[in-house]
């Protein structure tokens, strides 16, 4: 079954029918937002059933749109959390990408600013490495980007997309060795992005993220994870009651090959290990359960099929 990421937007009236339908079809609901009279569902659904969901949702004023970023967790790395970069540039990008379905976390570096003085500490490095992709928001001067970027990428092994003030060509020229994606003309600015050309610029960022993630998906498809992260999410949320008391918008965050479970590691890791997925196969057999560097959360990295020889 080929699951594709979609966003369903519709009225709150009878939306539970749509949720049941998606689950009955074998899909997974990653996140549900209720905004006044509207419901937004981010879900993974079987490709051949999109038509059916659209038909059933139509009388409920529901709309279903593909959103390739659902089921990914993206780090938006900003050089600091000072007024120089917030709210504009950093939040604008993070929020726009979030609207496209991704779960974005903003990583504000403690000492990312400056040219000579920029640095990245081990905690920041590890937190960024827990994501599927890192979007670096850099400044307006190519001299500075060229000088500081090697420091900021040290030890990062997830795909990187660089955003900066200089043109895309300039960014490609000055960054060596190359990174996975570049979007120029998105550097430091202090105004809200609301004009059409600025929104177009944010669309370019989303396009670039989608392109890089598609490439990553292709690579993953060659050696798929032993269990789909969405399925694992479903199993954990049905078997661990405490997860329903977590107040985060996504108590279990789905990544491309893993999950972030927002429960304390010390208490819940042994519990998660023992959970049976199917036919006696436990989570510990198909995934590594690691302490996350983000608070005291749990990070699950699902092992690929080649390592476990299990596919559930």
């Amino acid at each position: 079954m080929n699951l594709v990421p979609v966003t369903y937007k519709g009225g709150i009236y009878r939306h539970d029918e749509i949720m049941d339908l998606i689950e009955d079809l074998g899909g997974y609901i990653i996140q549900k937002h209720v905004l006044a009279q509207e419901v937004v569902l981010q879900a993974l659904v079987p490709r051949e059933d999109i038509e059916l969901i659209a038909r059933i949702g139509k009388p409920l004023t529901g709309e279903i749109t593909p959103s390739p970023l659902v089921g990914t967790e993206i780090a938006v790395v900003t050089m600091s959390l000072e007024i120089h970069h917030l709210p504009h540039a950093s939040c604008d990008v993070a929020e726009y990408v979030r609207r496209m379905g991704a779960k974005t976390n903003m990583v504000g570096l403690a000492r990312g600013f400056g040219k000579r003085i920029a640095q990245l500490n081990d905690e920041e490095r590890d937190v960024i490495n827990e994501h599927d992709l890192a979007v670096y928001l850099l400044g307006d001067f190519e001299t500075c980007i060229e000088h500081k970027f090697p420091v900021l990428r040290r030890g990062i092994h997830v795909p990187i997309i660089v955003l900066g003030g200089p043109s895309t060509e300039t960014l490609m020229r000055i960054i060596d060795p190359p990174v996975d994606g570049y979007v120029g003309n998105v550097g430091r600015f202090m105004h809200r992005t609301k004009e059409s050309e600025e929104l177009e610029m944010l669309d370019q960022v989303v396009t670039e993220i989608t392109r890089v993630l598609d490439k990553k998906r292709e690579a993953i498809a060659k050696d798929p994870p032993s269990v789909s992260p969405a399925r694992l999410m479903d199993i954990i949320s049905s078997q661990v009651d405490e997860i329903h008391e977590v107040l985060s918008p996504t108590p279990i965050t789905v990544q491309m090959t893993g999950l972030r479970v927002k429960l304390p590691y010390d208490r819940f890791a042994p519990l998660l290990k023992e959970i049976v997925i199917e036919e006696g196969i436990t989570i510990s057999e198909v995934a590594e359960i690691l302490p996350s560097r983000m608070r005291d959360y749990i990070l699950l990295r699902i092992k690929p099929f080649s390592e476990t020889n299990i596919m559930v």
């Binding site: 400056g114 920029a118 001067f141 190519e142 300039t170 600015f189 202090m190």
Partner: protein, 193 residues
């Protein structure tokens, strides 16, 4: 609103110059400072790195006195102040309390303050200085320049007064001749420090 007479951003990088021009424009507008600045020259050299902002302000309003914001009406046993502009009411009350004591200052409504004192000199009360707007203004100006400058330039020297101001900042030690550089930038605007 009058436009700024002179506004230039110089930098060896063309793209960076245009972005910083926009940033400076937005920040000054957001902080409501465009109307007080007459001339502004910003120079950013990311190679050193060094940020210099020099400027001239318009005539700044003089010290605001009690007579500017209230009508003083002296009666036999009390003085009534009818407040015209309540912007500076809070600092005014603070001054009156310190001067006459909290129990002698009564405020029956928003726009009236009564001083229960005898034999006061109305002229003298009118002359009490309430606030010096230029002090706050220059502080706002320097704050705005700190927002405009690239982040991380922690070593800085600033100056304001006599309708002129400058801010020099870098992440390294400032060059020894930075005062000459500042004078050069003032000269570009046709001014002398």
């Amino acid at each position: 609103m009058d436009a700024i007479e002179y506004f230039e951003v110089e930098s060896p990088e063309d793209a960076g110059r245009e972005y910083y021009r926009r940033i400076a424009d937005v920040v000054l507008l957001d902080h409501n400072l465009l109307r007080v600045i007459k001339k502004l020259h910003i120079s950013i050299d990311p190679r050193i790195p060094l940020f210099i902002a020099v400027g001239v302000t318009k005539k700044i309003p003089r010290v605001i006195k009690v007579g500017d914001i209230a009508d003083v009406n002296v009666q036999e046993r009390k003085v009534t102040l009818s407040i015209g502009d309540e912007t500076y009411l809070a600092p005014l009350l603070k001054i009156l309390w310190a001067e006459y004591g909290g129990d002698k200052v009564v405020q029956p409504d928003r726009f009236t303050v009564i001083l229960n004192i005898e034999g006061a000199d109305g002229r003298q009360i009118e002359e009490i200085p309430v606030i010096d707007p230029s002090e706050a203004l220059y502080k706002d100006l320097i704050y705005a320049l700190l927002v405009i400058q690239p982040e991380g330039f922690k070593v800085r020297r600033q100056y304001y007064g006599k309708e002129k101001f400058y801010l020099v900042a870098s992440e390294n030690t400032l060059p020894e001749n930075f005062e000459e550089l500042v004078k050069e930038k003032f000269a570009l605007m046709g001014e002398t420090l």
